[in-house]
């Protein structure tokens, strides 16, 4: 059995163009944390959630041949996203065959009830969107001044009043309004860009 380093190398070589490699990288970095969160909330242990993510990536990378073999294969990115979404929904709708052990996750109980595919699809789409927002936020945070970011974070995510935020950061009220709106506008632009790329 080849090592995963080798598996990945061969995946890279089989993809017809560099943009596909990029798509794979983006797919794994986006989908990895997402699948991990879903699995953990569903009650899987940390190491098993880890295994699940890896196994799914390995299985998907090995099925790339099928995508390559299609004449009308469409975009690699779209294909990856579609099977990943199906996968997650299947995972969420499958009844758990064991009751949650004592001391397990409270968060998992919310999902334990999830069985309808519609609800599962919503959960996935929402988590997907959450991941997009996180990534976009990370990107914006790195590109703006520290105070600008904090003004946005305190006044909108942590729902601290604008006046209070201004006081805490030693900024004027007007500049907090500008900082949070400016950051928000940028965040949305990046999320939109991500969405367009994925769809």
């Amino acid at each position: 059995m080849p090592s995963d380093l080798e598996t990945r190398a061969s995946l890279i070589l089989r993809l017809p163009d560099a943009a596909d490699v990029e798509a794979w990288n983006e797919f794994t970095s986006l989908y990895g944390p997402l699948m991990y969160r879903l699995a953990r909330r569903r009650g899987l242990q940390a190491a098993d959630a880890e295994d699940l993510v890896q196994e799914v990536f390995t299985a998907v990378s090995r099925s790339v041949e099928r995508w390559l073999a299609r004449k009308d294969r469409g975009r690699f990115r779209a294909w990856l996203f579609r099977i990943a979404r199906n996968r997650a929904i299947n995972f969420l709708t499958r009844p758990k065959h064991r009751p949650q052990a004592a001391g397990g996750a409270d968060a998992a109980n919310q999902l334990a009830a999830v069985v309808s595919p519609d609800v599962a699809a919503d959960v996935f789409d929402m988590e997907y969107r959450r991941e997009l927002f996180r990534r976009a936020a990370e990107q914006v945070r790195r590109s703006v001044a520290d105070n600008t970011w904090r003004a946005f974070w305190l006044s909108s995510v942590e729902a601290l009043g604008v006046a209070e935020t201004a006081k805490r950061l030693g900024m004027s009220v007007g500049s907090v309004y500008i900082a949070r709106s400016r950051t928000m506008a940028r965040l949305r632009a990046i999320v939109r860009e991500f969405e367009e790329r994925q769809s």
Binding site: D4, L11, P16, D17, R87, R94, G104, A185
Partner: protein
Amino acid sequence: MSHQLEPCEDRRLRLLLTAAEDSTEYKTAATHVESCLNCQTRLGALAADVQEWSEARELLTTNGDDLQIEQELRDRPRRLSEDDRTSDDDRSAAFNSAVVRQLLSPPSHPEMLGRLGRYEIERLIGAGGMGVVFKGFDTELNRPVAIKALAPHLAGSGAARQRFAREARAAAAIVHEHVVAIHDVESEQDPPFLVMQYVAGHSLQARIDRDGPLSICEILRIARQTASALAAAHEQGLVHRDVKPANILLEHQVDRALLTDFGLARASDDASLTRSGHLPGTPHYMSPEQARGEAVDPRSDLFSLGSVLYAMCAGRPPFRAESSLGVLRRITDSEPRPLREINPQVPTWLCRLVEKLHAKHPGDRFQSASQVAELLQCCLAHVQHPESHALPESLLESGDRDHAAKARTRVTSFAVIASTLVLTGLGALAVFLPRWHSSPADDHNAGPSPRTVQSESSTSGASVVETPAPPAADVSTQWDDEVDAALDRVEESIQQLDGESRQLFDVSSRNSIEP
């Protein structure tokens, strides 16, 4: 809508969202917003509507139950960014002191970092995707040791533990003066760890980074010792799969090279690579068959040994490109730049030896590591005592002309052929050129082909991607279902694993989320 003295136009407010902060328009609008309550509110509405603001808040807020999951995601040591050139250094940064403390029991001696079984841990000497390496001290046998511990996030995974133990035991079976000895494998411990011979020195990689190309004697010595280590491994049926300068340790004082990380590369990749989707280590020393994901045999290690030899001669690996994809393409498709163009000190017979190790087809390489070790031994004897030791016959086969002369001859003859072809007409070109292009393997003894030189000088390695011919397999319309079925099987096995881990709940409860 505005009754302010200043015009509260949306157009001006939008500048605040997008314009450069040092522009005059921005500053004017900013001053206005400072005192205009309407515009303060309006600005927020222009950035996003009410639902969007609340969506952002909701999605970016981590609720209490998820805090631990987010922490775990941050602790995953190999959350690599888009860049797949991430170095080992970046990864080791992920092993912060908290993680290290988590691995160790408190020390019994104040100058030590902690304890692991009967071993006192002195300090951290390295970290990778799989875990950390400590310098330690064996209190029973009174000797320094190197201890490799499986990372905490892997220690909980049955699969990773098993693989760790299996590979470590296989490696422990190789007893050889040029293989780092494995003293002990503690796979039932938490974390599992293995105890190795402590080598005081540095890696060949560090040496090349520091000094550039090595002397011919050193190159031959290190290569011979590495080849003999590989021969010992191959005899045990073990292919190393990760022969590279970072895995060859050079002992201080003594002229001794030791090969390490036998098969362990696999255990670590297992856990780290597919998760992030990025190459965990360097692909620079892979063989073409490895890169393509084909079956490998001992001759794959010989290709890598060729790359190590090349790196010692040139001061850099043979196949380089901007991206992993570029590197892999080079490995499978092109010949490296001739060594003597980089380092004219390298004798032509050594170039020939490296070229033979670098044959794309395993069948065209030397056939065993012991054969290579013997050959290198003879070469070393020749360099040290040229008058009494002749070079091995096999390295003399195409005479002793040097590369430059050969290259000139080739260029000349190509020019002659080309002009002949032009005279013969375009039809002839169409017939001959493709054949000439498609036979790079015929030419491994004859130095670089013009095609290689051309691609080596191209700077856009990553974008030079040929579309492979589509596989002959029939086009299945059920592809999605088949993939899903395959993934279903994967999930079933994971669920089973999950079930088993729950049965051992007492043992594994420490991994569960605490409210």
